[in-house]
């Protein structure tokens, strides 16, 4: 192409969003890190700055000497935080598996549906995703309450004699997470399964595979990119989930998102909240980087 490099325009197009993200996405993490190393103070903002550039080199040196990892030691020293991290990972992992178990047959059923129904089904999966997360969780409160709709229904059928206690238990959290993140699981699965050439399954069956064996030998391996993308999209945000454990879980439920929120809004301990956030980020860095790799690869293969 004999086109002069559209230098000014391309620079604007690249640098405006780039600088925006640098300033409002990347820089804040450094501030979080910085504050996680400072001391809690009863003031507003409630921490003593550990290092600021305003005091010049001398101030920076002094500040460096008083750098403190106290908040991290505090977080590690308290079994409550460690338990909260571990139980968040457990909730997220089990929810991801449950979402896969529900989402896979759904996505598979969608791809096998007649063509004109497929678009409608796709819309039906996307629609809840557009509907308020908070409202969808709130809907479950009325269903799962001891005097709620589920118990009324089961009692009236005579299936149970006593109301089931589901709200404010771990089970409610699983229901909430699976429910809110199910579209994130179904959409990548659907995309992977729809691309698949179904004649491969037919070939396997012609060669003597039972339908179940053909599924495990052909369909499932080919849908693996969708399985991975969907699982990441459920797992990563679920680890730091706040709304679900707060509204559906009990007071003893430990999840790190809730702990961070309480540290910040209830205890007003910003440095400890920052340390909790940094550690949560460290736990999630690997899955996030992996997810980005998968995304980048998928995008390249599209081109």
């Amino acid at each position: 192409m004999s086109r002069p490099s559209p230098s000014l325009l391309s620079r604007v197009v690249i640098w405006v969003p780039y600088l925006w993200l640098l300033a409002l996405f990347l820089a804040p993490f450094f501030i979080v890190f910085k504050i996680s190393l400072s001391q809690t103070a009863i003031a507003m903002p409630p921490y003593t700055p550990t290092f600021g550039l305003s005091e010049g080199w001398e101030g920076l040196k002094n500040a460096f000497n008083s750098l403190s990892f106290d908040n991290y030691l505090w977080v590690f020293g308290d079994p409550l935080y460690v338990k909260a991290y571990l139980s968040s990972l457990k909730f997220a992992a089990i929810s991801t598996v449950l979402a896969l178990l529900i989402g896979y047959p759904l996505a598979y059923g969608m791809t096998r549906a007649p063509e004109n129904l497929r678009t409608i089904f796709l819309m039906m999966v996307i629609l809840p995703f557009w509907t308020s997360f908070l409202i969808r969780i709130y809907a479950w409160v009325a269903i799962l309450k001891p005097e709620g709709l589920l118990n009324q229904f089961l009692l009236s059928l005579g299936i149970i004699k006593q109301p089931l206690i589901i709200l404010n238990t771990d089970l409610a959290i699983y229901i909430g997470i699976v429910y809110s993140y199910l579209p994130f699981m179904v959409l990548p699965l659907y995309a992977a399964l729809e691309k698949m050439d179904h004649s491969l399954v037919e070939a396997a069956q012609d060669l003597g595979c039972t339908p179940i064996k053909a599924f495990w030998k052909v369909t499932f391996p080919l849908s693996l990119p969708g399985v991975l993308a969907g699982s990441m999209l459920v797992f990563i945000p679920a680890v730091g989930e706040f709304v679900v454990p707060d509204l559906l879980g009990g007071s003893s439920t430990l999840m790190i998102g809730k702990t961070l929120w309480a540290e910040f809004f209830v205890n007003r301990d910003w440095p400890v909240a920052s340390a909790v956030a940094i550690l949560l980020l460290l736990i999630l860095v690997l899955p996030i980087v992996y997810f980005q790799r998968v995304q980048a690869k998928a995008r390249e293969s599209e081109v």
């Binding site: 086109r3 501030i31 557009w130 409202i135 809907a139 005097e147 999209l233 706040f242």
Partner: protein, 265 residues
């Protein structure tokens, strides 16, 4: 079974969609409940919609949310589209890897981290927390969603169209606005809608970045839900669900027509 619409598929679709829709449907039904008790049916009534409209705190929160969502969705669409163009068109510039990483990371970043980090930034630079900070925060995470949506459309766009326009003498900017933008418009509009609903919906990031005087609707709903389920919340939720449903259906209908026209024309 090969190519068939088997019983297993029908059952899994029925159960899956029942799981997705029953809670929403129940919520909508009970918003028309006469009784104050959310779980006891006391007859059909619109009274909670009236109560909702007379609840001035709820209404002013809705107004704040609408303004934040409109402004941040528009900013996010401009920034996100630029990011998408930058990432698909320019394969080499300094820091491209970092840029593409930052454009995807907010999609999976736990909201508590995004919220906390943005708040600490606003405090560090001395920006008063309130309407502006919520708007900036929403723009930041929503632009990444827009970028992903627009990017997926841009990669399938035939660039020779734009090059032809430039060979005929159009400036790159003009070629973009007259040739490329009309083609990717459905994705840009979808991105705007997505950004709008994300902003409308956000509780966690808004709670961190808001200050006194700027309460958004999700924050208001959340504080009421914590006190217990009320039919008024069902009513406002139904209104929100209605808006989103109409918007999504209208957009898909519009896209379908457009695709049909393109195929014919």
């Amino acid at each position: 079974m090969a190519g068939s619409w088997s019983r297993f598929n029908i059952i899994s679709l029925t159960l899956g969609f029942a799981f997705l829709y029953i809670p929403i449907v129940l919520l909508v039904i009970y918003s028309f409940n006469e009784s104050r008790l959310v779980t006891v049916w006391g007859g059909f009534s619109f009274k909670w919609y009236g109560a909702m409209l007379n609840n001035s705190a709820l209404m002013s929160a809705a107004w704040v949310t609408a303004r934040v969502a409109l402004i941040s969705a528009t900013l996010a669409t401009i920034l996100g589209t630029m990011a998408a163009v930058a990432l698909t068109r320019y394969s080499q510039f300094r820091g491209r890897l970092l840029f593409s990483g930052m454009a995807v990371a907010p999609l999976v970043m736990p909201e508590v981290i995004t919220g906390l980090s943005l708040l600490l930034l606003f405090v560090a630079v001395g920006l008063d927390r309130g309407f502006t900070t919520i708007m900036l925060a929403h723009t930041t995470f929503a632009m990444c969603y827009v970028a992903v949506v627009v990017q997926s459309r841009l990669v399938t766009f035939d660039r020779s169209l734009e090059e032809a326009a430039m060979d005929l003498g159009a400036t790159p900017a003009r070629a973009f606005f007259q040739v490329t933008l009309p083609v990717i418009a459905p994705a840009v509009i979808a991105g705007w809608m997505l950004a709008f609903t994300l902003s409308l919906d956000d509780l966690v990031i808004a709670s961190f970045t808001s200050g006194p005087g700027a309460t958004t609707l999700p924050m208001k709903i959340y504080s009421q839900v914590r006190l217990g389920v009320t039919p008024e919340i069902n009513a406002i939720s139904t209104v929100l669900i209605g808006i989103v449903t109409v918007g999504v259906l209208a957009a898909s209908l519009f896209n379908k027509r457009r695709a049909l026209r393109e195929r014919q024309g």
